[in-house]
Symmetry: C2
Subunit: 282 residues, 2 copies
């Protein structure tokens, strides 16, 4: 496995990787790799000849009060994990190499971003789209893999790829869960053991909505009520949002008549956790 710390090194490594016409899949990450990331790397390996993993804690997607400095950095383990998964190139630039001091061009969503996490994290998706556009321009992958856990991010990236005609195919990686249903996340390590036990409430809330939906309940207010009730049973959980929206437009719906995205964000003391499920009518 090669490791590149600068854009020029990465481009030169990629020229070699592609020299014999091999296709390239990119898995963008912020490091702190866990089973969720590894599942994306495995999808990437099936989809292309060579896998590139980027590891970059992107400052522009963190708000001023968010956990940029505290975000877990586990470079050595990440490196070993990528090596073990057969990654061809690890691209791990530092922020000074990714953003000039007078950086001033952003890729900005003007739709899909005012709801869910976008409402709680102003500017977050502008940062995400900007860095993903940069990574696409640096790596020029044939395929890129993103996890379904970040549902809104995934839809915004798919929209960006369509709107800006970026020549890359986006693959969606299913959510990977712990045995009790908690979606695996780098931020789970922020949880105390008590919070960890309660954190299963996100998945259980989604499951209760899904069970009612499968039982015939189509009214979003009723389903949202079920989700919020389950979250309220966790004493340390502070609800950020529990929403059910049109899966394509992320706009509010009253009844589920087309595929809908049920999405939850909950704050514990240090961790903000998200989870989601798509509800598809018969």
């Amino acid at each position: 496995m090669r490791i590149s710390y600068t854009i020029d090194e990465a481009r030169s490594a990629l020229r070699e990787l592609r020299a014999d016409g091999r296709s390239v899949a990119l898995v963008p990450t912020m490091g702190a790799l866990h089973e969720g990331h590894l599942s994306l790397i495995r999808l990437a390996r099936e989809a292309a000849d060579a896998v590139v993993v980027s590891l970059f804690v992107n400052p522009t997607q963190f708000g001023p009060t968010e956990d940029f400095s505290a975000y877990p950095r586990t470079m050595e383990q990440d490196l070993a994990a990528c090596e073990a998964e057969g990654v061809s190139l690890l691209f791990a630039p530092d922020a000074a190499r990714m953003y000039a001091p007078d950086h001033s061009t952003y890729v900005t969503p003007e739709s899909l971003d005012q709801v869910l996490c976008g409402a709680s994290r102003p500017g977050h998706f502008r940062g995400v789209l900007t860095v993903v556009a940069k990574l696409f321009n640096i790596v020029q992958p044939d395929v890129a893999v993103f996890g379904e856990k970040d549902a809104q991010q995934l839809r915004l990236i798919e929209r960006m790829v369509r709107d800006l005609d970026i020549p890359v195919q986006i693959l969606r990686g299913p959510i990977v869960r712990e045995a009790d249903g908690l979606a695996i996340s780098s931020r789970n390590r922020y949880l105390s053991s008590e919070e960890r036990a309660e954190a299963v409430c996100l998945h259980q809330a989604l499951e209760s909505a899904q069970a009612a939906f499968r039982g015939g309940e189509q009214h979003v207010e009723t389903l949202k009520g079920l989700m919020m009730n389950r979250i309220s049973e966790a004493p340390h959980a502070e609800l950020d949002y529990a929403e059910i929206v049109d899966d394509a437009t992320l706009q509010p719906v009253r009844r589920i008549e087309v595929p809908a995205l049920a999405a939850i964000a909950v704050r514990f003391s240090r961790a903000r956790l998200i989870d989601n499920m798509v509800l598809v009518p018969d």
Copy 2:
């Protein structure tokens, strides 16, 4: 010469163009081609093996009161001109093929855009950067050529290429002028014969500033005064701006100690004309 009206056709034509490893230069235009454009095409031909010209009157860079509908469309002459200049591919999509009805991702400048034309045309450069990013993603040129007449656009595109790591080299094409000094523009055809005679005031204003600067005058207010005086002598010319700014940052300067951009915009009845000159201290 091939002509593509859709993105898919263009991509397929480009695969053939590049099949034997040929490099590609892109000249983005809004059509209504004139000697200025042809000079860019000739630069492109020197810089790469194959030249692609895009011809697209981009709706997102026109304000609601601007001349999008009236913008000159001269497809047949443009086609003949491209053919005569040895262009390999003309990409001429229509707006419905370039923007989905729910298009919502924009490339947005957050600096360099609040002055000069950006101040007079809010949203203009967001439209320009978005369509240029799209064209770069569709054509994936090795080189792209832009005219120096659109000085602020050129600097914003160079900044975008740097900030988003777009793998393209930008070439600057010098301003092409009529015999009397008027910068050639598609919008010159909007001028009455009286206005056409007066329109030389832009170039003459720049020349008077340049002459004083070469004579030792470094004070921007004095040089701006010279430019404004010359414009005020043209009875049908309504000054939009006459500015001298830092050539790199486009920020105001009081004295010219680093390269400065002298830029003018003037409205005649139907035409808004721009021109500029770079003043470089010894």
